[in-house]
């Protein structure tokens, strides 16, 4: 399986994603933001970081970058696209995913482990993950998901909520909402479920010596389902 990780100036989880993808069997290549084309891939990943410094709205410049047209074309033709953290922000800026990511509710950057509940398994990203609740890791300042009531209705009607923040028992209530995200949303799909944007970093949870290992389940499933 071939994957491509896009490097924007300011990306800083590109190497971590490369390490994770390779660990679980992907043939990964790194693609520079100023390129026009993406080599043939089964999966495109927009990694975390601070693309172009994120001095404007996070992800907004990356959403207009040279490479992004190829990402949109790939996604629109049904290709699998994963955006983690800044990658999620970029996906909302391109319009591939609905809604936006605002500054965290308490206005602080948050770096910690969180639990998320998988809300929809009928897609390639979560299909064969046996657990319902995963322990993942967040590290962001703008992860507070928001969208209009109409968008939310459409997201819910189409089962587009991928994962929600919760506790270890799966309670996805306000008490277990680290950043103020609407409906505890930690990640969403597009309607066709071939695009996933998610704030938590599975690539930081792939080894028992790190913060945990549930990220491994995510990548193991991903390579199998492709």
């Amino acid at each position: 399986m071939k994957s491509s990780v896009i490097i924007f100036p300011g990306s800083n989880c590109d190497r971590d994603m490369d390490v994770a993808l390779k660990k679980f069997g992907f043939k990964n290549q790194m693609v520079w933001h100023n390129d026009d084309e993406i080599p043939k891939s089964d999966l495109i990943v927009l990694p975390g970081g601070f693309s172009y410094g994120d001095y404007l709205r996070c992800g907004s410049i990356a959403g207009k970058s040279r490479i992004i047209k190829s990402v949109i074309d790939f996604a629109n033709s049904g290709g699998l696209v994963l955006g983690i953290c800044n990658g999620f922000q970029i996906l909302t800026e391109t319009g591939l995913l609905p809604g936006i990511l605002q500054q965290n509710k308490y206005l602080n950057f948050i770096c910690k482990n969180v639990f998320v509940k998988i809300k929809n398994n009928e897609n390639k990203f979560f299909k064969d993950i046996k657990k319902e609740i995963l322990e993942l890791h967040i590290a962001h300042n703008e992860g507070n998901y928001f969208c209009s009531n109409d968008e939310l209705k459409s997201i819910e009607d189409n089962n587009q909520i991928a994962v929600t923040y919760c506790d270890h028992n799966g309670n996805d209530d306000e008490e277990n909402n680290p950043n103020g995200a609407l409906k505890n949303i930690a990640g969403i799909f597009n309607k066709n479920k071939n695009i996933l944007g998610m704030m938590p970093h599975p690539e930081r949870m792939i080894d028992p010596f790190l913060s945990g290992e549930d990220g491994s389940l995510f990548f193991e499933n991903l390579i199998k389902s492709l």
């Binding site: 300011g10 800083n12 994770a20 601070f50 172009y52 950057f109 770096c111 910690k112 010596f209 790190l210």
Partner: protein, 732 residues
């Protein structure tokens, strides 16, 4: 229009009358304003180390592990195979007090540049921050700003912040301390230095454009504060972590080739100190055409260009003919690139602007001939010990004391701070902040590097010589506690006004203590920084040297943590408990006693005890380890319990001291270890064989810490207070 230089203007530049005279004598003429600016930048305390140089020579800086000691952008130590670690600590105290966000952010940016200048990719950041009393009106905002600044910069670059230290004391009310440390990983055969070599080699400017920010920053950092401090805001630099990230990647890309002769970041005193240092180390001259320097603002004068401290800039001496290859890389990363001069034979710095020569100074005058002072200093006598009697402890309860210590600002949990720092990016952080030390793996290998930062201002204030030794030992212990072999240290020496004999004495004796301990423990100092004049309106800080230590784990799977593992395991304390209370947090916050000597340091025991812990760990006989520091045995145990949500049943102890002295005394050289019952006999025999003193402390159990009929306290209860102090403080 040129400003006429005279003594008054020189004094406004922070020079002393006699220093100005020396400049005129050396030049045999009156300098012009650009030259005066250059002298003032090179001769201030921050750049010239004029008060400290004499004493810094005494530091212990050698060892078989040392590849590069002090004098370069950062120190370099060998960690086996082809790997080396580049690391250094630096202060950004003065700017952070004036503008906490940018001051702290650019402190982090500056120290990372020092590390990647040498060819290393930064792999971990640490920081030590000291604030005034929590009740002081400025403390909360300064803390918030500094934490945001550190996070804002480090998080954006994508280097994990893995450990740190936060202290509060009213002596920092008018002068906070912000010390930032970075570790980088480099191939031993690909280290870059700042020493220029060869004549007519192109001098290249890369990075951000030069603006008017930070002019005279280094001079500001060499002055004491008064009520007009707010006026100094424009001397604080503004950080751009995005550009630094690009600069990092571009420099590392260029360094993969063979075109760089030498490279130096533009830190304090910007283009002035970087160009002069490169030429001075290479025993060369340098010629710069200031018209070619990329400027952000219009009509900048030579004076402003030379003294700007705009961030994210580097100076490189390239091999001839490699300009285009280098330019391509910097253009790819959208960074400025300009050939601004060349190396020369003249041994002078010569500056041109709009086709006119605007300055010419022999480099010797600026570097070697910089003033060096043998300042007067006084010794601090060892204070007399306090006598403690039963009366001192009469109405005290162990549980109340423990609660009070755990909720003290200097002990309470600092998660509110470190959860705002990305500590897991790069995917190799195997011990997070909050433990004995942060630990990151050497990517793709079995090795890992431990790092911590320590300071003990109360000990140093009471007796600088002992205090200096103590911090080095504490740093050493932090390495041992995670199972790492201590390798080397970097020091950030934060002191008051060196022109005052007491402050100068504190400096001299702390340095002596640091040197003695580091020599004994083979824990050499390979880099560092001095920050004097931490004084506002005549009130100076307590002497606060911070020690950043690093250690090596040859197999990261052997790393130890402080989290208790299993019920039924034994706890032992290694090292002797004499119950030393003077200068302990118990004495200060419970008995309100602030006098007396700090705990004594016995370097022989320190080394023996540490080596025995490492040896036990190598034989897989230890489950958990935590060093005993602030707050003594009971505080240490409480922290181990809180992180594991487990309890401990303490055994009656046999020492002939009071229980408060036993549980809260801050005797040095001690570790608490957790041992499985089946290993106990073996561990005891090994300790006895090496004549290591130890006490059996208790058993791991669930839920409570208990001691006879004197103490029973639930972990949930102490945890709540410990965890919430800082969070509540920041919300109010």
């Amino acid at each position: 229009m040129m400003v006429e230089v005279n003594e008054k203007i020189a004094i406004e530049h922070g020079l002393k009358k006699e220093e100005y005279k020396k400049i005129c004598d050396l030049l045999k003429r009156i300098p012009n304003i650009t030259e005066l600016g250059i002298f003032s930048a090179m001769w201030n305390e921050h750049c010239s180390y004029k008060s400290s140089r004499k004493h810094l020579k005494k530091l212990h800086t050698k060892g078989e592990q040392v590849i590069q000691g002090p004098g370069e952008n950062a120190g370099v130590v060998d960690i086996d195979d082809d790997h080396a670690i580049v690391f250094k600590i630096e202060s950004h105290n003065h700017p952070s007090f004036i503008e906490p966000y940018q001051g702290a952010a650019t402190g982090v940016g500056g120290i990372m540049r020092d590390v990647f200048t040498m060819g290393a990719r930064p792999i971990a950041n640490l920081n030590s921050i000291h604030f005034g009393s929590p009740n002081h009106e400025k403390t909360r905002n300064l803390l918030r700003g500094v934490v945001k600044g550190i996070g804002g910069y480090g998080n954006c670059i994508g280097v994990p912040t893995i450990a740190g230290q936060t202290c509060f004391d009213e002596s920092y009310n008018g002068n906070i301390l912000v010390n930032a440390m970075t570790l980088g990983l480099v191939n031993k055969n690909k280290i870059f230095y700042s020493k220029a070599a060869g004549i007519n080699k192109p001098v290249i400017y890369v990075g951000s454009k030069t603006g008017r920010d930070g002019i005279h920053g280094a001079s500001m950092a060499s002055a004491i504060f008064d009520e007009k401090i707010e006026e100094k805001k424009p001397t604080v630099q503004v950080g751009d972590p995005f550009t630094e990230k690009l600069l990092l990647e571009a420099c590392l890309e260029l360094m993969a080739g063979k075109s760089i002769i030498s490279i130096q970041d533009m830190g304090a005193a910007g283009l002035t100190s970087s160009s002069i240092e490169m030429a001075s180390k290479g025993n060369l001259g340098i010629e710069i055409n200031l018209s070619k320097v990329p400027c952000r603002e219009e009509n900048m004068s030579p004076y402003e260009i030379m003294l700007s401290e705009s961030q994210e800039r580097m100076l490189i001496v390239l091999e001839e003919g490699k300009e285009n290859e280098a330019k391509k890389i910097f253009e790819k990363w959208n960074l400025d690139f300009a050939v601004i001069g060349k190396t020369t034979q003249s041994k002078n710095i010569e500056l041109y602007f709009k086709n006119e020569k605007v300055a010419e100074i022999p480099i010797d005058f600026l570097a070697e001939n910089a003033p060096m002072y043998d300042r007067k200093w006084i010794k601090t006598k060892l204070p007399k010990k306090n006598e403690y009697s039963k009366n001192n402890f009469k109405s005290l309860k162990l549980s109340d004391c423990l609660n009070k210590i755990l909720t003290d600002p200097n002990v309470a949990d600092k998660e509110w701070i470190w959860s705002q720092y990305d500590h897991t990016v790069m995917g190799d952080t195997i011990q997070k902040p909050g433990g004995n030390a942060g630990v990151v793996r050497v990517h793709g290998t079995d090795k890992a590097i431990a790092a911590s930062i320590d300071s003990s201002a109360s000990y140093c204030y009471a007796h600088p010589l002992t205090g200096g030794k103590q911090i080095v030992c504490e740093s050493w212990r932090n390495m041992v506690s995670v199972g790492a072999k201590p390798i080397a240290i970097t020091n950030c020496l934060n002191f008051g006004n060196p022109e005052k004999e007491k402050n100068m004495g504190e400096f001299v004796e702390c340095v002596e203590g640091i040197s003695e301990a580091s020599k004994y423990l083979n824990y050499p100092i390979v880099s560092g920084n001095v920050s004097f004049y931490n004084e506002t309106k005549d009130k100076g800080i307590k002497p606060t040297p911070s020690i950043g230590g690093i250690g090596l784990l040859s197999n990261y799977r052997k790393m130890l943590t402080m989290e208790l593992k299993n019920e039924g395991n034994y706890l032992l304390v290694i090292g002797k408990t004499e119950g030393h209370l003077d200068q302990s947090i118990f004495s200060r916050i419970i008995l309100s006693k602030f006098n007396g000597p700090p705990p004594e340091i016995n370097l022989f025991n320190e080394k023996q005890n540490g080596m025995s812990v490492l040896s036990l760990n190598n034989q897989n006989l230890i489950e958990t380890c935590h060093d005993v520091s602030l707050g003594g045995i009971l505080t240490a145990i409480a922290k181990m319990c809180i992180s594991a949500k487990k309890g401990v049943k303490l055994f009656p102890f046999k020492n002939l001291v009071n229980k408060f002295e036993y549980f809260f005394g801050e005797d040095q050289g001690r570790y608490i270890i957790e041992v499985k019952p089946e290993n106990l006999e073996n561990v005891e025999n090994l300790l006895k064989k090496d004549s290591i003193h130890y006490d059996k402390l208790g058993l791991v159990e669930s839920g409570n810490i208990s001691y006879e009929n004197d103490l029973k306290i639930s972990i949930d209860q102490i945890k709540e207070g410990y965890k919430k102090w800082l969070k509540e403080y920041m919300v109010n």
